[in-house]
Symmetry: C2
């Protein structure tokens, strides 16, 4: 078995020689190579120039012994294609200039083919596949309907999602109309990424943990399900369905779909196995802050995660959320190597 | 059965005529009466003047048909007694001027008798008990060791708790020494509140959901347990153990102690019952943002919560976290009345 197989075999719950590992946001500000590029280009310039997106995607692959690459892009670029104005403001994160607030705003959202609106990322996927030359697989991704809705309505990051949930509770018909548009746009975008060469897909429902399980079932689940169905219909591309704060709603995430369920660190992996059963693979779940600890402690914590799922096929090691800005690069290298060595011994 | 009994009976898992309801942060900025006082006094002035703290505590009791009062105070005043400088800065929240960063800082933390350092809150409890005149019981409270540690180390609110967790992972002996001091101070403070007249206690571990269950067990549980033991030793005062984001660690919170476990909205109450078993009461768990919805939707959501625990003694209705700033006052009144009417019919 070569390293190039590990990740996709684990997605399909097949035996592997060592647990595959990749890290959410593995291309990013913690790497000097990335910060150097960011001095010359904005985030959106990096994403929208396929050669640069490819270069950034390859940075962690060249630096660490990772088992998968993930295309450098952002979950919010899809909103531009729907008609929303997106910017990244230093220190403030993403800003939507014309947030969705009314039925008329929702009416105005227009789903267009991803080739028209997100061609730069599809092109970057083709370039990166050539660059990777089969070394490791490439993951494509999209934001999920709720997480995109939260940004589209709030106009940026949010603490309590009062505006988004007020629309959800107060104008449920408009909410569902909007979520259906997101579902179609997301499904088509993910599908196009797979057709462009992405060998696995991840649906990021990063903020879905803000919802009660009952609200998730009623206001979100059908739309995530539709996005996943469109993305994967008639294909065997693995799809990782990820969220944070989902310990109380994992069965619902599974019901919505995905061949792999991504879990954050707020749940013991052994409990996740118990809750989710045997017919789905798992991804996770080290607390990203553990990477700030001494290497001995990083190894102890990674071993806890690996031990908790040992003997069960279908585990992809990852952090429970994206890698953080000031993470020491040498700790990332130590983690990746430890996961391989320790899991090969198990 | 009179209204004055409902809350304490539910804490003890005894049958009640209607489900008792109170709301975390029920005295606060969403009330015009509170905002009027805040134009004249700072938060710390309100807390440290027993007559004013009593007045604020009574505001929601006079406005709504609530089944318990909670003394107006703040989880962070205990840090002042330990030697940390506390301020509330408009728009930024709490600030610790000399955050704990080193073993020497931890050495310098000094546990002094709550009568010396927090006498104003103990006095406010005595005054409020007289003011309440038996109408409803009065709850005392404290922050829990982890939540206090997060503020003490980070120096204020935090998104990822990198500084706090780095100390926890990197200097575990110092961490445990600090947490032990917090546990003793918290336990003594809660005990003193009960002795001053608080008829129930709540331990707020608001940010404990930032931890993995394994980290909670190793770095936090023994200290929360010690605080609860000191608070309740030899007394039958009910203690509510509350945290948010705890869906994956509820059995550990129960193990740490408390006669009532507080649950946020990220877990279905029926699942909480399943996880926690029959020998503990439950408090929760409406999403605070639901109070921004139309009254019909508030009632539908409150009914979902009540239905999910119907037939089981020992439920205190509450939000899953504190009431939010711009919550419409008339929605609060509608919720409180609905909980009584609907649960009396169940």
């Amino acid at each position: 078995m070569s390293q190039s197989d590990r990740f996709l075999r684990a997605c399909r719950q097949q035996p592997v020689d060592a647990t595959p590992v990749w890290l959410m946001r593995q291309a990013g500000r913690y790497m000097a190579e990335y910060r150097t590029l960011r001095q010359k280009y904005s985030i959106l310039e990096l994403i929208k120039t396929p050669e640069l997106a490819t270069e950034v995607t390859m940075q962690p692959i060249n630096a660490f012994n990772l088992d998968a690459a993930i295309i450098f892009a952002d979950i919010l670029t899809i909103l531009e294609g729907l008609g929303l104005g997106l910017d990244f403001v230093r220190g403030e994160g993403p800003i939507i200039h014309n947030p969705v607030r009314s039925a008329a705003d929702i009416e105005a959202l227009t789903v267009r083919p991803p080739e028209e609106t997100l061609g730069f990322t599809l092109e970057a996927i083709k370039l990166t596949r050539r660059e990777l030359a089969g070394k490791v697989p490439l993951i494509g991704f999209s934001g999920a309907p709720f997480t995109l809705a939260s940004y589209a309505i709030e106009g940026g990051s949010s603490r309590n999602y009062i505006t988004a949930k007020s629309l959800m509770y107060g104008q449920p018909q408009s909410w569902h109309k909007m979520m259906d548009k997101f579902a179609v746009a997301i499904g088509q975008y993910l599908r196009a990424q797979a057709e462009a060469g992405a060998q696995a897909l991840q649906l990021f429902d990063s903020w879905v943990g803000a919802l009660s399980p009952a609200d998730y079932r009623e206001f979100v689940l059908p739309h995530s399900q539709k996005a996943i169905e469109i993305a994967t219909a008639g294909s065997d591309v693995p799809l990782i369905h990820f969220g944070t704060g989902t310990a109380g709603m994992l069965p619902l995430l599974k019901e919505a779909g995905g061949s792999v369920i991504g879990v954050d660190w707020r749940l013991d992996m052994a409990d996740a196995v118990q809750i989710l059963g045997d017919d789905v693979a798992l991804q996770g779940n080290l607390d990203p802050v553990v990477l700030f600890a001494p290497v001995k402690e990083i190894q102890r914590q990674a071993a806890l995660v690996l031990d908790s799922v040992s003997g069960r096929d279908g585990h992809i090691f990852n952090l429970g959320h994206g890698i953080l800005q000031h993470t020491p690069v040498e700790h990332v290298a130590a983690l990746v190597d430890f996961v391989h060595e320790y899991s090969a011994r198990l």
